[in-house]
């Protein structure tokens, strides 16, 4: 009788589950589930404010992907992110208000084009100025953006904020009602977030990601290996500003409102915090970090009076966490997860040794 036992190696399902994409998709599925549950029970749970909180998390996670590529792969710090997000939002509002016939795709591409140009500018600047000084210059850039948003009334409606009345595509083209269009946009947002996550992941593992890491660790070695510093620095900035601008468009499309106070240095710092907390090279980490920084107060702690009345507590905690992460846990949550797993394994092995003795 030949060995006729069934084999389970090369199980394709198991292999697919281990691929990071399934993790990404499950996050997306969880978010979709929330929205669908809300739709099913007429908005009783989860509340729209909670869903809006998740939408905000997703949008800022997109900014975070770009920022994490810049920080984690290319090792460059730019504090101007908030300005680019705001720019995307305000451009969208301006075009939608003053040129209502323009298709949404055109707005997207237009914002991307502007973001790319600005990204090139910052990239060229970064070639002349070293790392920590670059942070100073981008700090100034962020401040300038804030001033523009605040003062250029014709473009941004100043401190009162800009708003649009209808969500593009879903309200303007498909003619949905306000609540429905927001729900539909939420679903679109989930798809976009997960999609971008996958694309960015691919990029990170390709030769571009490797080239950036080389550039970050040793510019001499990178150049000797044929990596043009000019090209890859610029590319890093292009990617991060494009993501930021794109997120700005999404923000305006979902929330239909933008105010200058929302695009200050604090936003840039919060994004930095989110990326650092999650782990600067990990995309899932960035998503979790964004959730922690932007999501906890809008999603969870709204119900607790202490936190609702004293929003400063969260921000102070985030500041403290940034310091702790930089000082002790450079790898962020991802490192924490790995260390926890490691510690757990060690403890388990220790217990096994205690109970059973060695295995010979």
């Amino acid at each position: 009788m030949e060995n006729s036992v069934l084999t389970t190696r090369n199980n394709p399902v198991k292999k697919a589950l281990r691929h990071p994409f399934s993790g990404f998709i499950s996050i997306g599925a969880a978010l979709l589930a929330l929205q669908i549950i809300a739709m099913a029970n007429g908005g009783k749970w989860p509340l729209s404010s909670t869903l809006n909180g998740f939408a905000q998390v997703m949008i800022f996670a997109i900014v975070g992907y770009g920022f994490s590529f810049l920080l984690g792969y290319a090792g460059l710090a730019s504090l101007g992110t908030a300005g680019f997000v705001g720019l995307g939002a305000y451009l969208t509002a301006y075009v939608l208000k003053h040129y209502p016939g323009v298709p949404y795709i055109a707005i997207l591409l237009g914002v991307l084009a502007v973001s790319l140009i600005l990204g090139l500018v910052v990239g060229f600047i970064s070639l002349r100025i070293e790392g920590i000084f670059l942070a100073i210059v981008t700090l100034g850039l962020s401040e300038i953006f804030y001033q523009i948003f605040n003062n250029w009334i014709d473009f941004t409606n100043g401190p009162n904020g800009a708003s649009v009345t209808k969500t593009p595509i879903f309200q303007t083209i498909l003619g949905m009602g306000t609540t429905d269009s927001r729900r539909a946009f939420f679903i679109l947002l989930v798809v976009i977030t997960v999609g971008l996550l996958m694309l960015t992941y691919n990029l990170g593992r390709s030769r571009t990601g490797r080239a950036m890491l080389a550039m970050k660790n040793s510019t001499s070695a990178a150049q000797a290996m044929g990596i043009s510093l000019l090209r890859y620095r610029l590319l890093a900035f292009l990617i991060s500003t494009a993501y930021a601008g794109f997120a700005g468009v999404l923000f305006m499309s979902y929330f239909k409102y933008a105010a200058p106070q929302g695009y200050t240095i604090m936003l840039s710092l919060n994004i930095l915090a989110a990326v650092l907390i999650g782990g600067s090279r990990s995309l899932v980490g960035t998503f979790l970090g964004t959730f922690i920084v932007f999501g906890t107060n809008t999603i969870f702690l709204q119900d607790i009076a202490l936190f609702r009345d004293n929003p400063w507590i969260i921000n102070v905690t985030i500041g403290i966490v940034i310091i702790l992460v930089v000082m002790f846990y450079r790898g962020g949550l991802v490192q924490l997860a790995q260390n926890t797993k490691q510690t757990f394994n060690n403890l388990l092995n220790g217990w096994r040794m205690y109970r059973y003795g060695e295995d010979d």
Binding site: A77, I125, R128, I129, E130, G131, I132, F133, A135, I136, V137, L139, G140, L141, E143, I144, Q147, I148, N151, W152, S220, I265, M266, L269, L272, A273, L276, N310, W312, N315, V316, I318, G319, I320, V321, I322, I323, V326, M327, R330
Partner: protein
């Protein structure tokens, strides 16, 4: 634009130059001794300034100068605390990492200060010891004006900076600072107590910046964003002048307020000047920095491969 207007603009810039010089002195002190760009500098100064206001209104018969000293002391302690608690512990971290730590401090302070000084809006009534007189004088035969407070702040700034430079040059502490700035490890081996030096530098930076904050806030409503603009431009001044030596950033501190005031002059820029002032200043400064990436007075180092 007439000569008189030009000179008047320059005179008007003097108080700002004084304030910026104080702030940049603090920044460069911290940078050269601990290789950190302290993004929380503005907020430490704000903390000091708020303390001054608190002291002035809680102890109503206290001389304003005493209040200033109290504020400086508060910022002194806060700066020292940040260095001892955080920067020293993180000594082995890259400068970029230390920068991020200061960003964390920034986030903490910007949220904590309004809570601690909850009633600050009650205290910002100007007038207590605030002299709004205008001093007139002639320069090269042309009439010039300057506010009393402006003159005071400029003089005080010049005096303080002169004292600091004198201390750097002649005192033992100054020698220690210069040694640590050159090479911390070697300085330690030569017996310089770098821990005291760096703590004191952070503290002094905070105190100096508080004086700058005092004059920025005098006569206006106090708000936690008081020093925001100053800090950003203060850092740009340091990059512009160059971090390579102690006097270099002062050059930046001179140039930026001048550019700012000329950029905001309606006679030169038109009626909407105020709207674009910041942006024009930033662009000019940026261009200068791009042309001189190591600062106007800086030097370039070639890495040995």
């Amino acid at each position: 634009m007439s000569i008189q207007a030009i000179l008047q603009t320059i005179i008007n810039s003097l108080p700002t130059i004084g304030r910026y010089a104080l702030v940049t002195m603090g920044i460069v002190l911290i940078f050269r001794t601990t290789a950190t760009t302290n993004f929380a500098q503005g907020l430490i100064a704000t903390f000091g300034t708020f303390t001054i206001s608190w002291a002035a209104y809680t102890y109503t018969d206290l001389n304003l100068w005493i209040c200033l000293l109290i504020g400086m002391a508060a910022a002194f302690l806060l700066g020292m605390f940040v260095d001892v608690a955080l920067i020293r512990t993180a000594r082995h971290i890259t400068p970029a990492g230390k920068q991020m730590i200061t960003m964390g401090v920034m986030m903490i302070l910007v949220n904590v200060i309004p809570v601690v000084f909850r009633d600050i809006t009650l205290w910002n009534k100007p007038g207590k010891g605030f002299n709004a007189d205008i001093v007139s004088f002639t320069l090269f035969g042309m009439p010039m004006n300057i506010t009393y407070m402006g003159l005071l702040s400029f003089s005080l700034a010049v005096g303080l900076l002169a004292a600091v430079f004198a201390a750097l040059k002649f005192t033992k502490w100054g020698l220690g600072v210069r040694a640590t700035a050159a090479n911390e490890t070697v300085a330690q081996m030569l017996g310089v107590n770098t821990r005291v030096i760096t703590a004191f530098s952070w503290a002094l930076a905070g105190a100096l910046a508080t004086v700058g904050g005092f004059f920025t806030g005098a006569g206006t409503a106090l708000n936690v964003t008081l020093m925001g603009n100053t800090q950003v431009f203060g850092f740009l001044a340091c990059v512009l002048g160059g971090f390579g030596s102690f006097p270099a950033p002062i050059l930046g501190a001179i140039i930026i307020p001048l550019v700012y005031n000329f950029a905001g002059n309606p006679a030169l820029m038109g009626p909407d000047a105020g709207m674009w002032q910041n942006m024009i200043t930033f662009i000019v400064v940026l261009l200068l920095i791009l042309i001189f990436p190591n600062g106007l007075l800086g030097r370039k180092y070639v890495k040995k491969v």
